[in-house]
Amino acid sequence: MTEPVISVRDLRVEFVTRKGILKAIDGVSFDIMPGEVLGVVGESGAGKSVTGSAIIGLIEPPGRIAGGEIRLHGQRIDNLDPEAMRRIRGRKIAMIFQDPLTSLNPLYRVGEQLVETILTHTDLSPPAARARAIDLLNEVGIPAPERRIDGYPHEFSGGMRQRVVIALALCAEPDFIVADEPTTALDVSVQAQIIALIRKLCRERGTAVMLVTHDMGVIAETADRVAVMYAGRVAEIGPVRDVVKHPLHPYAKGLMGAIPTLEAEAERLVQIPGSMPRLSNIPQGCAFNPRCDRVFERCRVERPDPDTPRFGLEGEAPLMPGHRVACHLYTRNPVENAS
């Protein structure tokens, strides 16, 4: 069996504030295989982006990694010194940000930014780096790259800028890319193109991707597996079709129910009552328990861990391997179930 590119174990990230310690990430674990796209979904503040920042080593004070491990090809990277981590960033792990309008330095030509990144991570000569930059622009689908390479970011449209951002992420052929809401700021028509591009590059190069988004449609189209996050924890993780079609966690069910489909267009969108707790005020036990319509005593006391469900509820379809859920509904004693 192949080794995962990225392996996260029991990751905890905290933010030290005047009002106390906020647990932004609390015990998150997952693996990503080469060439695999892991979608990460959840509401804002669920810890999706923080997880991405933690992997790439860009948690800034007052935040800090408080525990757990992050491994890249089996080697720990969460405890590297800043200089060693910098060498990994861009070369082994790259990141794509949400807003292409603000991720490019407005005062530098696109080519300058590409060439600088290439020169930082490779031994290429400046002319060779420029040639490679043109190749990259071509690869991400920018027309007339020889000419556009000398343009400034503001001369590109939003979609084209996001292509430039992707080209910048690909400069050193990384093994793993964190894509933090790469399509949120784009027009709907452009979104599909960018998603297709990420998917294509991922296939061709065998790059693993962690795709952070709150758009379930994007996940369904792009991801191989999906992790549903809630209040800094993984609620459910598994193959994308399985999770989308047969969500187990009550929160995931609500989330999937909120996807508008063509058939259900006329119906009112499903809403999950209430809102996610503040990080300063996460309830004991299962973080979702105050909003859950199937809550029972154990949920308020004991925190569930993501695990393979023992009992399909209501005769659910057979589960695919690797589908795990953090919910007492699926781990509890069948006797209690009857009560």
């Binding site: 860009l58 960033r89 940000f97 603000t102 991720s103 330095n105 407005p106 990144t117």
Partner: protein, 325 residues
């Protein structure tokens, strides 16, 4: 671009016209110019003839036109105190003031920039905190008090540097004199330049710090970090370049203030510049010098403003586009 330049030049001309109007009103109505020129025993007919020959009986608007016409030829009349053409008095003293002002500006910019960048990058270090405290005191201390303090320390107690004058100067060309070429000239420049530049230095330091902290929070800096660019390149390439744009504006505008503030420094150090001349003019109500100095400073401010606006466009590619349209 051209339209933008023309529009800015028109605006500048309008401001200059307003300044000229004030200068003219001062010149014409504050103290009768004729009374300044004649003695007590000058006969009335003589006074009337002088009045007529100076054109003081013409309509005000005609006089204003003539004032502007003369100003365009750098003719501001004759100083009441010195009985010499104002233009020549100012030109003689301009090199002293300009050399002082540029040295002070260079000092303020370089030191302020370094301190500001340091304070932004090492925000929590004790040195950064110290710089911050110094800047607060620097803003609160009046310039003349700083000058006195420096004189007392370095001239009186330690005896390292001279406390007044320009030292030995060298003549360059017809009218320019420089203190840059002699040791005593350079030594004489140190204390006044620091005194004059200190306030602007703290200003630039605070500005650079605030601006750079802002830039360090932007997405493109985060993205640059995520691409694994070298820290030095991120700090001194990407972040600093973006920080400098607003700093250029303020620093440029401060150059004008430095020349105006030179009045105080020149008084403290008895520096033979235009500021000292202007101060004597104020003390003795020598209106022609005051009017000419006002016009000069006004012109300087307008030119600097114009220049800053235009360079702004050269540095920031986004504005280049905006100006073209």
């Amino acid at each position: 671009m051209l339209a933008f330049v023309i529009r800015r030049i028109m605006q500048s001309a309008a401001v200059m016209l307003a300044v000229a109007l004030i200068a003219f009103l001062m010149f014409r109505f504050v103290g009768d110019p004729v009374n300044q020129m004649v003695g007590v025993d000058t006969p009335q007919e003589e006074v009337a003839r002088l009045r007529e020959s100076l054109g003081l009986n013409d309509p005000t608007i005609v006089q204003f036109g003539r004032f502007i016409g003369n100003a365009l030829h750098f003719d501001f009349g004759v100083s009441y105190q010195f009985r010499q053409p104002v233009t020549r008095l100012l030109a003689e003293r301009a090199p002293a003031t300009l050399e002082l002002a540029f040295t002070a500006a260079a000092f303020a910019l370089v030191v302020g920039l370094i301190m500001g960048v340091y304070c932004a990058l090492r925000r929590d270090s004790w040195l950064a905190q110290l710089f911050q405290a110094i800047s607060l005191i620097g803003v609160s201390l009046p310039t003349f008090l700083i000058g006195i303090l420096l004189i007392y320390l370095f001239a009186v107690v330690l005896g390292w540097l001279p406390s007044n004058g320009r030292g030995q100067v060298v003549k360059i060309g017809d009218w320019w004199t420089t203190g840059f070429l002699t040791t005593s000239g350079l030594r004489a420049l140190v204390l006044p330049a620091i005194t004059l530049g200190l306030f602007q230095m703290t200003l630039i330091m605070r500005l650079v710090r605030a601006e750079m902290l802002e830039v360090m929070r932007t997405d493109y800096i985060k993205f640059a970090k995520a691409r694994g660019l070298r820290t030095r390149s991120i700090h001194f390439g990407h972040a600093l370049k973006n920080t400098l744009i607003p700093v250029i504006t303020i620093a440029g505008l401060q150059l004008g203030s430095i020349i105006a503030f030179a009045i105080i420094t020149e008084t403290v150090f008895n520096w033979p510049g235009m500021g000292l001349l202007f101060l004597k003019a104020v003390q003795n109500v020598d209106i022609p010098i005051m009017a000419a100095y006002l016009m000069l400073i006004g012109l300087l401010f307008v030119l600097i403003n114009l220049l800053v606006d235009l360079t702004y466009g050269l540095v920031d590619p986004r504005l280049r586009i905006a100006m073209r349209s």
